[in-house]
Subunit: 221 residues, 2 copies
């Protein structure tokens, strides 16, 4: 990610999703947030959004009043790029120059269109809840028609997509290997803490089983 | 982030950084990765990059051969948007519609320019190492002139910047409060695991003190 000498070393795929669908899907399914780029007022824009992949489509969630949704409605679609990245480890090399990060990233380009059908929107909300906390969709009030009307869902088909992954130990120059500096990886992972009940939770409602264990949502190095 | 009903509820600042410099800096200093948007070939582009804030400037790291750096060199600067976001908790409401996330995000627009001076580039590398692992800059080989030449550093002054933050419990509709669904927050945090020495680490080099404790790099809900 930040070491130019690494830039050409990791495996890099830039082709139709069919090429390495499995690893693209794995990264998309693990990340909670994507970063959506588009152009408005002739300027680049990037927004973080929760999202979910269903099949070969990425669904993005927004407000019907938000600029992205309004632009997509007006134009019948909006050209976007969706980027997702997960940092797995800091890579500490002997040299400052060879410091890097182990990460997995996906970039998908295309035209995102508004999902119109209320049933499809509800399906999206269900998939998103199940991604975020499997079991949750069956333990929440379903959306009303009015709520679905207020929900803007945009769909981006995974057609032009690339994955970039760096794994493994630091890549030091041969002449640096005898230096006295420690070198290696510092794994980074995301963990979920103990759920905190809402202050106005009705008495007698206990933590559901699907939220019980402290679940690690992504792995290390 | 994903709940349209929340979109107007969190405090939203969109003004010069002087307005809420402290919270903008805190978010930038906590996040390892930023998402850099720019326009190339008339299309939106977003790339993940390691970065560091020094004073009121965000420094981005890339390869001199990368498209962003080449475009900035050719044009004397490149219009970018830098987005950073940290998810602190999942917000599980009684209704599907009111599900959300607690997060802190920063978006900064402006023209990023290439840092030319070798001394400034080295200062950037030092600041980045110290951000990633405080103490590390003194425990790594300094860059050579050739390495600094291969290092593209871009600087974005924090002038047009906004922060968006959601905190607190779910916001359910009054009529939903008596439903039997659990509601509350699931905290998410990033932790660092036990450092893993490089396979070719010379015998006798032990883990330095600054890497010893398993440090939590960001807090919960």
């Amino acid at each position: 990610m930040y070491d130019p000498t690494e830039a050409t070393k990791p495996s890099r795929h830039a082709e139709r999703v069919s090429y390495d669908e499995a690893s693209v899907h794995e990264i998309l399914d693990e990340a909670l947030v994507c970063h959506v780029g588009f152009v408005a007022d002739d300027r680049p824009q990037v927004l973080p959004m929760l999202f979910v992949r269903v099949g070969s489509t990425v669904f993005l969630h927004g407000s019907t009043g938000a600029r992205m949704a309004r632009m997509a409605a007006r134009r019948g679609g909006l050209e976007v790029v969706v980027e997702v990245s997960i940092v797995d480890a800091l890579v500490l090399a002997r040299s400052a120059f060879n410091h890097s990060a182990n990460y997995r990233a996906v970039v998908a380009h295309g035209t995102a269109t508004l999902v119109q059908d209320a049933g499809d929107k509800e399906e999206f909300l269900t998939a998103l809840m199940e991604k975020v906390a499997p079991g949750r969709a069956g333990d929440a009030r379903r959306p009303t028609q009015a709520e679905l009307c207020q929900t803007a869902v945009m769909a981006l088909p995974l057609i032009e997509v690339s994955a970039k992954i760096r794994t493994g130990p630091p890549s030091d120059e041969p002449g640096d290997l005898s230096l006295e500096h420690w070198a290696g990886l510092v794994p980074i992972r995301e963990v979920r803490g103990t759920p905190e009940p809402a202050p106005d939770l009705a008495p007698g409602i206990t933590l559901p089983a699907y939220l019980q264990p402290m679940t690690e949502v992504r792995g290390g190095a």
